[in-house]
Amino acid sequence: MIGVLLRRDLGLLLPGGRGGGSVLPLLFFLAVAMLYPFAVGPDAQLLARTGGGVIWVAALLAAILPLEKLVAGDMEAGVFDQLHLRGVSEELAMAVRLLAHWLAFAPLLLLATLPAAALLGLPGETTRTVLLGLLVGTPGLAAVGLAVAALTATLRGGAALAGLMVIPLAVPILIFGAGALSTTGEGGIALAAAISLGLCAAAPFVAGAAIRSAREG
């Protein structure tokens, strides 16, 4: 059952998939890394010091782009209704979708971090910290995105609102994940991971409740 759901969700969300999942978030992410040196000038020291933070901000904003079709389409088509009749709870459907959403955007984003780090001239140690931070932070970003996408799915202009709502909720991950760049040690990364885990645990329930309450509306 879970395998069947995951396969469909991945087909829907993976770049180049039938659901129109695209590489746009990835290109957007790389574009930010490319534009930043043009904007602040080619000061290698400045770039190396601030580049990690820029990558984090770009990753956060790129995570907002795929939210539009994450939940709303299936809600409108009645997919969750049919699943409910088959005894598949909204929470399970959302947990599977969270996994699929993360798989569809995070591994590619991590890969794209390498050319982005090269564009900004980040030293190896910083790149490693950014990668590690993004690895533990992206599940949290995916979880916030999913919950917000489900909450705003029935609203007109929900996608734009979802983008705005994700930003404040993602701030804690950003603070600790990007904060690990300026402090030595891995405490910040561990805290970002803890927040990420908490968000991943809560998101399926929030999103499931949102889908159920949307039926009553």
Partner: protein, 193 residues
């Protein structure tokens, strides 16, 4: 197949408006019921209440047996060929032999056509095929004849008769006349609040 569907004293409110109240229904194995009524009287809401997707404002629904619902929402991936879109639900339902329903509803030739290119009637037939292949005893059908041509309509009426013979229950909400085995008609207007 043993099945039972009992609704007691159902009231339905949408927003600030009470649509109907005091609606009761008892269905045992092999029975078919048609619920009629004008547009907007609450037929679709009633079907969703019976399916457990909507909470009734008052009253209770008891069910024995799995339920299948066909309404205006297709729940098939619009960009996929029909065959693959249906295959997802067959996998979920654990259906091993989907062929017969597809044949009776004449969907065989459409399996390679993306769902978004199908006509209204063809989409409806696809939803009905999914219902049949689910092999569940309680059928909840919200306007199942919409868009069906007379041939498909007859084929589907025969399928309902077969379903009821096998001990299934069919509750049909429709403003159109539909031939049901041992028909029982309930006019929802009698319960309008």
């Amino acid at each position: 197949m043993q099945a039972r569907l009992v609704a007691k004293d159902i009231a339905c409110r949408r927003g600030e408006r009470l649509l109907f109240r005091g609606f009761s229904l008892e269905c045992g194995s092999g029975q078919a019921v048609q619920v009629t009524g004008a547009n907007g009287i609450g037929k679709s809401s009633l079907m969703r209440i019976l399916a457990g997707l909507l909470r009734p404002f008052a009253g209770t629904v008891e069910r024995e047996g799995m339920m299948g619902l066909v309404d205006e929402r297709l729940a098939l991936d619009a960009n996929l060929p029909l065959g693959r879109a249906l295959a997802f639900w067959q996998d979920i339902d654990g259906c091993r032999d989907p062929g017969r329903a597809l044949e009776v509803l004449q969907l065989d030739a459409l399996m390679d056509v993306p769902v978004r290119y199908l006509s209204t009637g063809q989409k409806k037939r696809a939803a009905l095929a999914r219902l049949i292949n689910r092999n569940c005893p309680i059928w909840l059908l919200d306007e199942p004849l919409n868009g069906l041509d007379s041939q498909a309509q007859k084929a589907f009426e025969a399928l309902i008769a077969l379903h009821c013979q096998g001990g299934g229950i069919a509750v049909v909400a429709s403003h159109q006349p539909i031939a049901l085995p041992a028909p029982r008609t309930i006019d929802l207007a009698e319960y309008a609040a």
